[in-house]
Each structure stands twice: as structure tokens, then as C-alpha cells.
Amino acid sequence: MVNLISENTSLILAAEDCPAEDFEQLHYFSKQEQRFISNLIAHGPVLLKGARGSGKSALMIEASRRMYPANNLSSAFGIYISLRHLELLRSEGDKYERMLCQLIIDAVNKIIIKAGDIFEFDPLPNVTSLQKELSSLSSASGKRIVIFFDDAAHIGREAPLHEFFDIFRTLSSSIISCKAAIYPGVTKFGTRFDVYNDATVIDVSRNDELEGYNANFTEIIRKRFLMGIPQGSFSGKFTVENVAGFMGRAVLGNMRGFIFAWNHLSENCKDGKKIGYANLTKTLIDIASNYYWPLIEELKPKLGIYAPMIEPATDIAELIFREAGEDNKQDVLILREIAQRLSKPLELLEYTGFISIRDVSRAMKSRGRGTRYSLNLCTLLEKIRGARVTQEIYSRWLNESNERNESLELHKTSELFKMQLPELLKDGEMLIFKEDISKLKKSNAYPYGLTQHKIDILKAADYDTVSALAEASDKSLLALNNIGEETLKRIRSTVAQAIWM
């Protein structure tokens, strides 16, 4: 079971949670990702766009690691800032500007201390003063400044976004560049920010049509010592490289999904079991029900005004995967007119890793043009007759014959064409804040969630809602009986999972 997976460093799912000393040991970057990192280090504004778990944070952290002061030879300061701050999410206008500027000031000061405390930096928390001081810092050090804003823009949290992108644009100059991580579905950037004019957008996705796909996933696994699967478990056609490539495809190249799936495979290969179709089947089916569907459940209360879009997204997923499963297809071509109308729920499915866009405009056999999406093979396997990985499926999904299979085509005759979308909510507040903390109990949606015992302790102390728990100080939580440092860490990470994407 996913829930039984022990927690050790090789199982860390999010780069931002990875201890700095383990980062290099646990991360591998392909040639394509090395190019993304070069883009992040070079001067110029960049938006790094990708689904949850696609590796945006790891790319930003790696870029900052290759810059000053971590790398003395670099000609640019690398300042990494995570924007996972509850207060920031709830602020607007001047308050937002003040808080964001303060976060930047704190991060720059930390970097200056790391650099030996040899530079002056004392701005006021507003954009004008900050920009002036950053320019002075650049001038004094002879280095450019690069600021990495991780977790900058979320779907459903549009209120402070126009302020963020205003600041992003205003801070940028010939010596200061801003880079921000955003999610698919973020479409509102404010009136002053033109997304394709004011920044270079990099789509972070691992496409299985790229050369070296299997080898890249193999390297990731080798970096983590095969994550508990003995070398002896791989034999015959189930080489490490094939299995890694297959699992990578199964989760559409999503890094967090891949680590999760590989953990699962290692659980299914305990006691010297060899890797075979049976344990691959079990892994994929378990991931479909324990990872993908719970992601949808987890997402709903975080979506603000878009919360009603979860239902159509679920219906669309059910329909697409059912029809593709029955027809033995791995991808779907949706008439553009339909894809445009259903863009928001389709973006949610992209965000959760159910689908991944491959072609924006492709000719359909049944006339017209469509958008082609690849489907995750875990959910697909659930819908295929027999629901098991066979020799034929294994070879086809690994694309060993290098032939493109035809897509499932959804035209005007499809049920999708008739699907109506609900109204958006008027109030953009995230429902998760009002949720009872029992929502955070260990479950498929929260595999590292809280035990009933801890929930009872928190409730007895009047921490009833997620919001109340999120706002509680470390000191007040540690003052409770049976809440020690380890439990505090678990509470914080569960609350973070609940609130952040």
C-alpha cells in the first residue's frame, strides 16, 4: 500500500523539501533540463510552466546552486524564494507589495551572509527602494541579480497575481531578472503583463518522443540506488532501462508521479520477486486509484472560483479514458472547438497529470483540427479490457516498434460536445481554509497525513479548521501534549499539501 511506504530521503517527493546536502545526490538533469537551467541562469525574464510534480522547483534550486555565492565563479547572484506564504495568498495591493518585497529582502540578506557579509543591502519594503538597492548590490559586486520565485502562480488564486506580475515586470531591468514557476491553467497575469511579450515561457514536460527518454529515467533511479529494488529483480526484457522508461511513460514523464510509482513497484517486488507483468499491473492499477483519483479530490478545495470545474474534469477523464481503453488508444485528439470550450477542466486534468498536451493543432481524420493529449497509462489500464499489462501492451507502450498509434478522435458526435460547464463561484476564497482538520487524516489523498489521535489533540486545543492550524505558531503547537518536533513537521507538511498545489 502507498500508505505503508516508509519515509526516507530517497522517497522525498518535492525538491523544495529536499535537504540541501542531499540535493545533488538525489537529482539528475537530462540534456533538455540542462538547457532549461541555462535559461534560468542567463539574463532575461522566464516563466517556468509545468504540472504539479513536473520538476520546476528542482530546476530553480539547481540553477541557484550553480550561481553566486554557491558558485564563486558565477557572474550572477542566484536568489531562490518559495512563495508558499499564507499571508501572501491573502493580501492585495500595498500589503501584498510590502510582504513580497520583505520576502525578497530577507532572501537577499541570507545570500549576502552566505557570501561573507561583504555587501551593504538595506532597502525599504517597496519596489522602488528594492530595485534601487538591488542595482547598487549589482554595481558593488559586478554581478547580475537573478530572483527565482517558486510557486508563484496557482490556478484559482488570481487576486494577487496581477500584483505579482506587476512587481515581476517592474523589478526586471538590464541587470535584474525575475524567473517564476507557474502552473498550467494560470491565464490571468494582470493588465500590465503580456505573458509572451514580457517573458520567455518554458514548458517543463518530459515528452516520450524525445531521444534518451528511457535512459534519463534510468539515471534518476540509479542516483537513488534503484530505490530498494535489487538489481537481481530485473531480468529478460525487464531491464532497468526498459522498466524505468515504461514507468516514466505510465505517469506521462511527471517526476513526482514517477518516484511515487517506483516506490510502489519496489513494495510490489519485495521478498526477491522478479519484475514481471503481474507486479507492473498491480503498481499501475494501485497508482490509478491511490494517486491520480485522490489528486482530483485533493485539488477541489484549493481551486477558489474554479472549484465547480472539478466535476466536469472528472466526467471528461472518465469519458476519455473509457473510450480510449475500449479502443486500445494511448492518446486522444479533441476537436479544437470542444477543447477550447472545455479548456479549464482540461487544464485541471493536465495539472493533475491525467493528460499531457502533445499537439495543439493536428488534422483529424473526421475533418477539422484537434488538440492531441497523451493519457496516463495507469488510469488507462483500469479501463482496458482485462486491466492488465500484457506483453503486447508493454511493447506498445514502450513504443519499441517506433510506430505512432492512431489517436482516439472526439468530434461533434462525442458526448464531450454536449457537455455543459457550471458557473464559476463568485467568491474566490479557497474552501480548504474552512475545512475541518479531520480532512487532513491519513488517507489516499494525504498519504503522510495525521493520525486520529493527533487530530483529537489538535481539536481539543480548538484548532478545528485547516486555516486555524495553518496560522498556529510552532510554539503554541509544541506546547500541546504529545506534539513534538517530528509531529510538528508532519503537521506542517500535511497543511502545506492541503493548501499549496
Binding site: A42, S75, S138, I175, E209, S361
Partner: protein
């Protein structure tokens, strides 16, 4: 056909027709100029960081200008033929000693142009801008052939640039291209004219210079690939040959 033509020159100038005058002569000249710049771009790797900061912007802007001239020549030869005729005059160079050169391809006017909101608003159709990335080209060439391009590359796998291209709709493709051409020209020019008052090594450090050159080559090569599906383009390459050249450019790499 010239056997030692670089992949980039091939994509931008198409199949050359040797020993002929007119536009063929122009394209042959542009092709060999591009080849020369490509050789220097490849050599950049062996230079010191300071040398790279000094030379790379010049080479990048050369590629941008030569590439755009070649594409204009293939899509709209009249303008280039007229310039050729003018430049053939015996006193051409002397006559330009003390004035700006108007008888050449100009960045503002031939490549970029002012926005035209409604291209058919002027009923007389007098002097529409024929800039490569202007609004008339946008509608008549780029938008009109975008689906053709997507159909030509739909089953190409293993090519990072093509995979990326397939994920863009026309508006995104055009807006990004326009922004890149405009900002690349401006940034590369800053590196040439030394207008910066901050240290050059910081503004044109290795990572930034590398990215500028890579973006320049990628953008101009992408338009070269695109021209291969425009039916009226001169010296058209077979699309498979164009796709192979596009891939080769990525594999050679610069810096």
C-alpha cells in the same frame, strides 16, 4: 546544389542554383556568408569568456540579418532585386560615405514594422508594409501556412525544437517569434555598440551570450523551416530535407 553548404544556410537559402544571375546570385552570396558566420560561431567555444563577450553579439546579429535577408529574398524577391541593382552601381560605396544607408535591408521596415490593425482598411492598398514579421506577412504568409507547417511536422519524433513547436498555437508562435526577433536584435546591438555603462562581462556573461546565440539560431532556423511549406517560396527544399537540416542545426549546437 553546393555540397559544403551548412545546414543553416541550406534551410535559409534553400536549394541554390549555381552560375545564374539575379536572385540566385544573391542567395548564393548570402548562403556563403551564412556559412562563414556559422564557422565562426562554432569556433566561439575555443575563445576566452572576454572574447566571446566581444565577438558573439556581432556574429549573432550577422546571422539574424543575413537570415532575414535570405528569407525576404525567397518570399518577396522584388525588394532584394532592387537593392541588388542599386548596389551594383559603380559609385555605390562612395555615395554612402556620409549618409545612412537606405539602399539595403533595414531592420525596421523590412523585418519589423509598425502595427497595422486592419490590413484591408486602406482600400487603395498603396504601399502596404512588406516587413517579414509585419501584419501583412502575419496574415498572408505565416498564419495562412501555419497548419501546413503543423501537418508537415506532426509525426516527427526525437526533435526537441519540433516537439516544442507542435505545442504552440499560431498566436503564441507568432507573438513569441516577434518578441524574440525584436529583443534579440536590440540586445545583440547593445553588445556591438558598447552602449552599456555597466561592465560588459556582467551583461554579456557566458550564460547570457550563449542563450542569445542559441535563441538567434533557433528563431531564424524555425522561420527557415516554415518557409519550406510556403508554396511560392523560391528554391524550396523538400520538407523532409528541411526537417533533417533543422535537426542537424540542433545537433551541431553553438557554444
Amino acid at each position: 546544389m553546393i555540397s559544403n553548404q551548412s545546414a543553416l544556410a541550406k534551410l535559409l537559402c534553400g536549394n541554390l542554383v549555381p552560375d545564374r544571375g539575379g536572385i540566385d546570385e544573391v542567395l548564393s552570396h548570402l548562403s556563403s556568408s551564412i556559412d562563414n558566420v556559422v564557422i565562426e560561431l562554432i569556433n566561439l567555444e575555443s575563445l576566452t569568456p572576454n572574447q566571446i563577450s566581444l565577438f558573439a553579439p556581432f556574429l549573432g546579429r550577422s546571422i539574424l540579418e543575413l537570415g532575414c535577408t535570405a528569407l525576404i529574398a525567397r518570399l518577396d524577391p522584388f525588394r532584394v532585386l532592387l537593392i541588388r541593382e542599386y548596389q551594383k552601381q559603380p559609385n555605390y560605396l562612395d555615395s554612402l560615405m556620409d549618409k545612412p544607408n537606405k539602399s539595403s535591408i533595414r531592420w525596421q521596415g523590412d523585418v519589423l514594422a509598425d502595427k497595422v490593425t486592419d490590413i484591408l482598411a486602406d482600400k487603395s492598398l498603396q504601399n502596404p508594409t512588406r516587413a517579414l514579421l509585419g501584419d501583412y506577412y502575419k496574415r498572408l504568409i505565416w498564419s495562412a501556412n501555419f497548419d501546413e507547417l503543423q501537418d508537415a511536422i506532426k509525426d516527427v519524433s526525437g526533435d526537441e525544437w519540433i516537439i516544442d513547436l507542435r505545442q504552440k498555437d499560431f498566436e503564441r508562435f507568432y507573438n513569441e517569434t516577434l518578441k524574440d526577433f525584436s529583443s534579440l536584435y536590440s540586445k545583440l546591438s547593445k553588445g556591438i555598440h558598447h552602449e552599456l555603462v555597466i561592465p560588459l562581462s556582467s551583461a554579456f556573461d557566458q550564460e547570457t551570450t550563449k542563450l542569445l546565440i542559441q535563441k538567434t539560431v533557433r528563431n531564424i532556423a524555425t522561420l527557415g523551416l516554415f518557409v519550406s511549406v510556403v508554396s511560392h517560396a523560391l528554391n524550396k527544399l523538400d520538407i523532409q530535407e528541411a526537417i533533417a537540416a533543422y535537426k542537424e542545426i540542433q545537433e551541431i549546437g553553438v557554444l
